[in-house]
């Protein structure tokens, strides 16, 4: 009877220890008890109960030789005081370096092309081509031109005004300006796109 009481008392200490609720003088008793296999089983089962109560998927069974194999390996393994765990895989560093190098190369090629007046000349036809190919209703050709092309005007007075919500223009302008695409970046450099209606 005393043995059972003693066992229960130790199990209760282990239960409290796993919750971090042991009195300081009990901690060493619990730790000493946990050197015995029977109490290690209790420790494992109590934790498994907690895991399952948190999630039904945690009823995971570990094969019996898992712990004996691991413990055998641990016996022959020594801690390495100089080992600091690297959380990036080895080749991940190389990937970052390659990605940065690729970005720098891209910028080195693109920035001189789009910088200054020459840039506007290069960019404007590109923009025009992009927007004219977008099939806007009733204005399939040359509905949009870039501000950089001052002498290009495709609108004739005889053409009817486009019927649309006036808010659309500001929406489109904002979309062009804040879009992350290369086209918008170029447009931002070369000035706002002017819609044919001239309302912007």
């Amino acid at each position: 009877m005393d043995l059972n009481n003693n066992k229960s008392q130790i199990q209760e200490q282990i239960s409290a220890f796993m919750d971090g609720e042991c009195q300081s003088h009990e901690t060493s008793v619990a730790l000493a008890s946990l050197r015995q296999e029977a109490y290690q089983k209790d420790w494992e089962i109590y934790h498994q109960i907690g895991d399952i109560l948190k999630s039904n998927e945690m009823g995971i069974r570990v094969s019996e030789d898992f712990n004996s194999r691991l413990n055998a390996r641990l016996r022959t393994t020594e801690p390495d005081p100089h080992k600091i765990f690297q959380f990036l895989p080895k080749h991940q560093h190389l990937r970052i370096v390659y990605a940065l190098a690729a970005m720098l190369t891209l910028f080195a090629i693109l920035i001189p092309r789009f910088a200054g007046n020459d840039g506007a000349e290069v960019a404007a036809p590109y923009l025009t081509a992009q927007f004219t190919s977008a099939n806007f209703p009733s204005h399939s050709d040359a509905t949009l031109i870039a501000a950089g092309q001052k002498d290009v005007s495709t609108r004739s007075d005889s053409e009817p005004d486009m019927l649309r919500d006036p808010l659309i223009d500001s929406y489109l302008a904002a979309h062009q300006r804040y879009s992350s695409s290369m086209v918008s970046a170029v447009e931002y450099e070369t000035g706002p796109i002017i819609l044919e209606t001239g309302k912007r």
Partner: protein
């Protein structure tokens, strides 16, 4: 929650002083969580266990450098994720082939493949049975025991908070939680013993 971290910290300190058995207790505590984590990346149960063994060995070797700035489990989890990813990279060719086969099987037989489910029917059954037994045992607990263990395991409250909520002394909370664990443990011990015998 913080107090549970304290228990881990005590065990980590013991390991750092050379106590290997304290590390075995950490393994018993976290092996299911790490198995589940690795199962998200790798389907083969035997392979999963091998990877988990490596994770614990790596953690043991590097534990000397663990300063406790994060929770032990956070640190272990990161080692786990990195090890699983590295394993996939090293086995990439084989993984691609097997996933192709899985995809074809799915097309042919319309069998849903759950990536985090253990593979063999025996382990699935045992896991489900275990979860069912725990939940059944919870239902049979007297109210005060069920409330105490729920507040601890599911809500993560400290004994002090539970004592306040249940309007009872701290010692009573400790005792109720232990008794609840023991009642549930007694229900699942036979199943665990059968599983152990099978694996031998």
């Amino acid at each position: 929650m913080t107090k549970e971290r304290d228990a881990d910290q005590i065990l980590v300190q013991c390991v750092q002083k050379g106590d290997k058995q304290a590390f075995e207790l950490l393994v018993l505590k976290y092996q299911r969580k790490i198995i589940r984590l690795v199962s998200f990346f790798v389907k083969d149960q035997a392979e999963v266990e091998d990877i988990v063994q490596e994770i614990f060995i790596k953690a043991y070797k590097a534990l000397a450098s663990f300063r406790g700035e994060s929770a032990f489990y956070t640190w272990l989890y990161r080692i786990g994720v990195n090890s699983a990813k590295n394993h996939i990279i090293s086995q990439k060719r084989r993984m691609i082939t097997s996933s192709d086969i899985d995809a074809r099987e799915k097309e042919l037989f319309h069998v849903p493949v759950l990536p985090n489910e253990p593979v063999t029917p025996d382990t699935v059954l045992a896991s489900k049975q275990l979860a069912e037994l725990v939940n059944e045992a919870m239902d049979t607990l007297p109210d005060e025991l069920r409330t105490a263990i729920s507040l601890r395991e599911i809500d993560g409250l400290s004994y002090e908070e539970i004592a306040e909520m249940m309007d009872c002394p701290l010692g009573t909370v400790r005792s109720r939680i232990f008794r609840a664990r023991e009642i549930i443990a007694n229900r699942i011990r036979p199943l665990m013993e059968i599983a152990l015998d099978k694996s031998r």
